[in-house]
């Protein structure tokens, strides 16, 4: 059970990255390669808020969310908007992410920093397994976020608009949806969430500048397994990757954990090319 919790909490981290990718993907059919770095910055800001300023938890969360939202907004302005095609956006957002890593190293150094968690930081026993409160927090956060986003997408006008836009830019324009404004909003929202996620991730992984690159690709794998554009898929994919990693490391050895994830990825995609929860199109003709 402990191992399952370990896998799930790690998977929740991946799922959170995947959620960030997904919001931008759904809104603009492109990827924000700086997503994981945004979360890392969130963790650092949470550290600064907690430790340097000694703020109460709620203020720390708000601080992290607002700070990262601002950074994400800047990113949309300088790295996404001026570039028309998605392929080049891949490079510019990657560049932005690299810059964030560099800046984080300059500001916070290259050593890991311990980010405190609200209330007790102890481990608890749950259903016969051991886990930290913040690990439970991560798992719950990932699930809650996905459910909320899903409901929001279903119910709200702008949620529908997001989905419409990802289907067809022109159609969305015709329906009077401001595509640019929405794309900007999507980045702002991912920033906001990345700040929140950073607050939860920090206690588990420490705030460390290299965290971004460690998470970036795994988040993608989670997304690919779950299906691009699907929030439930990202969640399931994240958990799957986390569980496979933990169990492979336990029973096969650490050098097989990435290999096992890769095998699962290939296996899932060979059976369902669009991922577990991806929409299946009839043959592309």
């Amino acid at each position: 059970m402990t191992l399952i919790y370990a896998g799930l909490s790690l998977g929740a981290v991946y799922a959170l990255v995947a959620i960030g990718y997904n919001i931008v993907f759904v809104a603009s059919r492109s990827f924000n390669f700086a997503q994981a770095q945004l979360m890392t910055i969130g963790a650092f800001v949470a550290y600064t808020g907690h430790v340097t300023f000694g703020l109460p938890a709620i203020a720390v969360v708000l601080l992290a969310m607002i700070a990262v939202m601002l950074i994400a907004s800047i990113e949309e302005r300088i790295a996404v908007r001026p570039v028309a095609d998605h392929q080049t956006q891949l490079i510019t957002t990657l560049g932005f992410g690299t810059m964030l890593t560099g800046i984080a190293q300059l500001v916070w150094g290259s050593q890991p920093l311990d980010v405190p968690f609200v209330g007790a930081k102890g481990a608890i026993t749950l259903l016969g397994g051991r886990l930290y409160t913040f690990e439970l927090g991560l798992i719950v956060l990932a699930i809650v976020l996905v459910v909320v986003i899903h409901l929001y997408n279903r119910r709200m006008m702008s949620g529908l608009a997001l989905v419409a836009m990802s289907q067809d830019d022109e159609a969305a324009l015709l329906r009077g949806i401001n595509v640019r404004k929405l794309a900007f909003a999507a980045f702002a929202v991912t920033g906001l969430l990345a700040g929140l996620m950073g607050f939860f991730i920090g206690p588990k992984t420490f705030a460390v500048a290299t965290l971004g690159s460690a998470l970036a690709l795994k988040g993608f794998v989670a997304l690919a397994i779950g299906g691009f554009g699907s929030f439930y898929g990202g969640l399931a994919g994240g958990f799957a990757v986390g569980l496979v990693e933990a169990h492979a490391a336990r029973y096969l050895g650490s050098e097989f954990s990435n290999l096992s994830v890769f095998l699962i990825l290939i296996l899932v995609l060979m059976i369902r090319p669009t991922g577990l929860f991806g929409q299946l199109q009839e043959r592309t003709v």
Binding site: L10, S110, Q111, L113, D114, F206, R250
Partner: protein, 400 residues
């Protein structure tokens, strides 16, 4: 159209500015009045090992300052030539070869990064350049392969053997080993297994983790299932924290013995908020440290070195990361004893223990090399075990 032109202009400007930024440095020449050039693999950003790299640089700079104050190497001013390779082997090779093409350096120093050592050792050997290597690899400890290369760090064998008195004193019988997957960590794991077994202990389990992983619950669970009396582990940076958190999470009250790299991790050796000192995670932890890492008011050479280093930079880590200082002093002592700056003569002098023990080195009091081995035969009591405590300026119990 205007916008586009402006963009191109900006790009052109950027390209023109770039070459101006990297001013290559020239080496010295061999004349007695010319500086003695020691090239060092350096940089300012090596990802997780940045602090090790920068501390090694600070140490080397301090060593150079100390030697120059005392008149340099055989009257020649020592000049440190920093190669900005960020511990990347390909870039280190580029810089070294470019330098050799211009002017051979008199010696080369690697402060951190064993794959840099592995990459450049053959080139240094081929060009007959003295190599003082703080990032040990097997080849540079073997004078048959590399007659001009010397390993400075305590060999993994010595590090591992340092545990035996601790096992003895505490009556540990079953040992668990947890290590990372860097080159050093793998050697550590292998040697720990063979040395402990050889000394009659039961090695209950040896587990390896990926140093880029974010969770070690799996490996720790496996070890726990084997039920050791004590866990010996190696980690640097964030993984050290993951290991400790994982063990606390499982509610496992096993004694922990961290190796010297754990004691170089600020996360473990700093007070909150920077580090974890005082947290329950560290309750069962003891650290293996080099003796010089524990402050001793009577250790003159060490205290002098710390002063020299802190006057020009920070020591982010323990004294173990400061071998660069000793490297410079050793080269100076060897040149003085040989009365020559020819690499072969200096290497010969370094093989004489009386030369190295009189060099005034800070990390280890002596570096006993021999004609058969260029790995320092350090005594068994080189390391000791200490409760985790704040390491300031590279030392525990530092007077600040």
């Amino acid at each position: 159209m205007k916008v586009r032109q402006a963009r191109w202009a900006a790009l052109a400007a950027a390209v023109l500015i770039l070459p101006a930024c990297g001013a290559p440095d020239d080496g010295g020449s061999n004349k007695a009045s010319e500086p003695f050039v020691i090239m060092i693999s350096g940089g300012a950003d090596a990802g997780p090992v940045t602090d090790q790299l920068r501390t090694a640089l600070t140490a080397a700079r301090a060593g150079v300052a100390t030697v120059n104050e005392e008149g340099g190497i055989n009257g020649r001013e020592v000049k440190l030539l920093e190669s900005p390779d960020n511990a990347n082997p390909t870039k280190a090779l580029s810089a070294l070869r470019a330098q050799i093409a211009k002017k051979k350096p008199d010696a080369y120093l690697v402060g951190a990064g064993s794959n840099v050592s592995a990459a450049i050792a053959p080139i240094l050997n081929q060009n007959k350049i003295l190599f003082v290597n703080a990032a040990n690899i097997a080849a540079t400890g073997d004078p048959k392969q590399h007659p001009l290369a010397f390993n400075l760090a305590a060999s993994t064998q010595v590090v591992v053997e340092g545990y035996l008195p601790m096992f003895e004193a505490n009556g540990y019988k079953k040992i668990g080993v947890l290590h990372g997957n860097s080159a050093y960590a793998k050697t550590f794991g292998k040697l720990a297994e063979s040395v402990f077994k050889g000394a009659g202990y039961d090695v209950a389990g040896v587990e390896e983790y990926d140093s880029t992983a974010l969770d070690m619950t799996a490996q720790i669970s496996t070890l726990r299932a084997a039920g050791p009396d004590v866990v010996v582990f190696n980690a640097y940076g964030a993984p050290a924290g993951y290991v400790l958190k994982g063990i606390t999470k499982l509610g496992w009250d096993v004694p922990l013995l961290g190796d010297t790299s754990v004691s170089s991790t600020p996360l473990i050796t700093q007070e909150p908020p920077v580090g974890l000192l005082g947290s329950p995670d560290l309750k069962h932890l003891k650290l293996e440290v080099t003796k010089s890492t524990v402050y001793d008011p009577s250790a003159e050479a060490t205290n002098k070195a710390v002063k020299a280093m802190t006057s020009i930079g920070q020591i982010k880590g323990s004294m173990n990361n400061c071998l660069g200082y000793d490297a410079i002093l050793l080269v100076a002592a060897a040149a003085k004893s040989a009365n020559s700056t020819e690499p072969e003569a200096m290497a010969k002098a370094l093989e004489d223990p009386s030369v190295t023990s009189a060099a005034g080195t800070a990390v280890y009091p002596t570096y006993p090399f021999s004609a058969d081995s260029h790995e320092p035969k350090l005594p068994l009591d080189t390391h000791s075990f200490a409760e985790p405590g704040p390491i300031v300026n590279g030392q525990l119990n530092s007077p600040k």
